[in-house]
C-alpha cells in the first residue's frame, strides 16, 4: 500500500503537486470570488455595524490561515527533525512568508474594520497584540532561513526555532490576555455579543475560509516546488563543480 511518506521523495512530490497545485489554485479562486461577491453584494448590512462588517469575509479567513500556517510550519518542522524529509523542511520554509502575509492582511483588515467601530486604527487589544507578536515571530523565522547558507543547517535551526517559538507564541497569547482584557469581540463567529451570526453571513464566510485554505495550499505547493527546483539546480551545480 502506498504510504503518505512516499511524497517525501522530491520526485514524487513534484509529480503530485504538479496537478494538485493548479487544481487547488482554481478551486481557491472560485470559492473566494463566489464568497466575496456573495458576501459583499448579496448580504444585508448589519444593523449596528453597517456595511463595514463585510470586511469580515477577508479578515476572518486570513486570521485563520495566519495561525494555521504557523501550525503547519510546526508540524513540518517536527517531521523534518524526526524523519529528515527534505520536502517537509522546504514546505515549512515556503509557508513562512505566506503566513506572514496572511497575518499582515488580518492586521490591516482589522485596522480598517476597527476604525469605524472603535474609533481608532490601532488598539492594544490582546488579539491584535497577539497577531502583531505572531508577525514578529514570522519575521524572525524568515530572517533565520535567509541568513544561513547551508540548507540542512538552516532547516535544523529554523525547525528548533519554530518549536521553541510556538511555545513562546502561545505564552505570549496568554500574556496578552493577562495584560489587557480587550475590546475585540469574542471569536466563534458571533458578530455582536449575544447574537449568533446569521446563516446569510455564515455561508459566504465559510466559502471564503475554504477558499483561503485552498489558496494557502496552492501557494505553499508553489513555494515548495520553487525551493525543490532551486535545490535541484544547486545539486546539479555541485556535481558539475565536483566533476571539473
Amino acid at each position: 500500500m502506498a504510504s503518505l511518506w512516499e511524497y517525501a521523495n522530491p520526485v514524487k512530490f513534484m509529480r503530485l503537486s504538479g496537478w494538485l497545485m493548479p487544481v487547488s489554485a482554481l478551486l481557491a479562486a472560485g470559492l473566494i470570488v463566489t464568497g466575496l461577491v456573495w458576501g459583499f453584494f448579496f448580504t444585508e448590512a448589519d444593523y449596528r455595524q453597517g456595511a463595514s462588517v463585510k470586511i469580515i469575509f477577508l479578515h476572518v479567513p486570513s486570521a485563520l490561515m495566519a495561525i494555521n500556517a504557523w501550525a503547519m510550519m510546526l508540524i513540518a518542522s517536527l517531521i523534518w527533525l524526526v524523519r529528515r524529509h527534505h520536502v517537509s523542511a522546504l514546505a515549512a520554509k515556503a509557508a513562512a512568508p505566506i503566513g506572514a502575509t496572511m497575518t499582515l492582511i488580518a492586521l490591516i483588515t482589522g485596522a480598517i474594520w476597527g476604525q469605524p467601530m472603535w474609533g481608532t486604527w490601532w488598539e492594544w487589544d490582546p488579539r491584535l497584540t497577539s497577531f502583531l507578536i505572531l508577525f514578529l515571530f514570522y519575521l524572525g523565522y524568515i530572517a533565520l532561513w535567509s541568513a544561513i547558507e547551508d540548507t540542512d543547517t538552516a532547516a535544523d535551526l529554523t525547525a528548533i526555532l519554530c518549536l521553541v517559538g510556538s511555545v513562546f507564541a502561545a505564552l505570549s497569547r496568554y500574556a496578552a490576555l493577562f495584560w489587557n482584557q480587550g475590546l475585540h469581540q469574542g471569536a466563534s463567529l458571533s458578530v455582536a455579543p449575544g447574537t449568533r451570526m446569521d446563516w446569510a453571513y455564515k455561508a459566504p464566510l465559510y466559502l471564503c475560509m475554504a477558499g483561503f485554505a485552498l489558496l494557502f495550499l496552492a501557494l505553499v505547493l508553489a513555494g515548495t516546488r520553487t525551493e525543490i527546483r532551486a535545490r535541484r539546480a544547486r545539486a546539479l551545480m555541485t556535481r558539475e563543480r565536483a566533476r571539473a
Binding site: P10, H86, D150, D152, R232, R234, T238, R239, A242, R243
Partner: protein
C-alpha cells in the same frame, strides 16, 4: 620526564584501539572521503597525509564527534579522544596557568605543573595569553592535551607556527605519550621526527563523484 609520572599514575588502562571501518564523511554536503578503514592502537602513532582539501580536517572532526559520519563505523567513542585543531581555545585575558588549569578542571584533573614543564612553559605561567607569541600559544594549546588524561590524541596540524626546537620538544612529548600507552592520530605536512609513526595517505579514499552526492542526491 617529570609529567610522565603523573600520567602513569592515572594510567591508560590496558590495551586500547581505535578501529575505523568503511568510513565516509562529508563537508558542506559534499562527500570528501569514502571507504576509509584503519586502526590505531595503544603505543602507535598514525600520520595522515594528503593534499589540501583531501578531507584531513573533516575526518578528524568526524572522529572527534563534532560532525556526523555519512556512514561507517568508529569503535572508539569521542569521550576517549583529545582533539586539537588550528584554534587553541585560549582566552587572551587569562594567564597561561589559568588557561591550562581551566581545561584541566574541565577534564577532572588538577595538576598542571607537569604539562607546563613538558611544553617548556613554566617560566611563562603568569603571563597573559595575549602577550604570548604564536609559537608559545601553540605550545600552550598542545599542553592542554596533557591535562585531558585521554589516551587518543587527535591532532590537526599540531606543529603550525612551532620552530624546530619546539617541534622536537613536541615530538618528545608525543613519544612519551605513546610510551605511556597512549596513541596519536596526526594530520601534518612536516616530518615530526617520529620514525615509528605509520603514514596513511588519504588520496586513495577520495570520494568518487558522481553519482553519490550525499544528501542532495534525492533532488537529482
Amino acid at each position: 620526564m617529570v609529567w610522565l609520572g603523573g600520567v602513569r599514575r592515572f594510567g591508560y588502562a590496558g590495551f586500547m584501539e581505535l578501529r575505523v571501518t568503511d568510513l565516509a564523511c562529508a563537508r558542506g554536503g559534499l562527500p570528501l572521503i569514502e571507504g576509509l578503514s584503519f586502526a590505531v592502537a595503544s603505543g602507535e602513532a598514525l600520520v595522515l597525509r594528503g593534499p589540501n582539501g583531501s578531507g584531513k580536517t573533516t575526518l578528524l572532526r568526524t572522529l572527534a564527534g563534532l560532525q556526523p559520519a555519512l556512514k561507517g563505523e568508529i569503535t572508539c567513542p569521542p569521550e576517549e579522544m583529545a582533539y586539537a585543531a588550528h584554534a587553541d581555545g585560549l582566552k587572551s585575558t587569562l594567564t597561561v596557568a589559568e588557561n591550562l588549569s581551566f581545561w584541566a578542571e574541565i577534564h577532572g584533573q588538577r595538576d598542571i605543573t607537569g604539562a607546563l614543564e613538558a611544553m617548556n612553559l613554566t617560566d611563562l605561567a603568569g603571563r597573559q595569553a595575549q602577550h604570548l607569541s604564536a609559537g608559545q600559544k601553540r605550545r600552550l594549546g598542545l599542553a592542554r592535551l596533557l591535562v585531558t588524561g585521554r589516551w587518543l590524541w587527535v591532532l590537526d596540524e599540531p606543529t603550525v607556527s612551532l620552530d624546530a626546537a619546539s617541534v622536537a620538544l613536541f615530538a618528545g612529548v608525543v613519544r612519551d605519550h605513546l610510551a605511556a600507552g597512549g596513541a596519536a592520530l596526526l594530520a601534518t605536512h612536516i616530518d615530526l621526527g617520529l620514525p615509528e609513526a605509520r603514514v596513511l595517505d588519504l588520496a586513495p579514499y577520495r570520494a568518487e563523484l558522481p553519482p553519490d552526492l550525499g544528501f542532495d542526491e534525492a533532488f537529482l
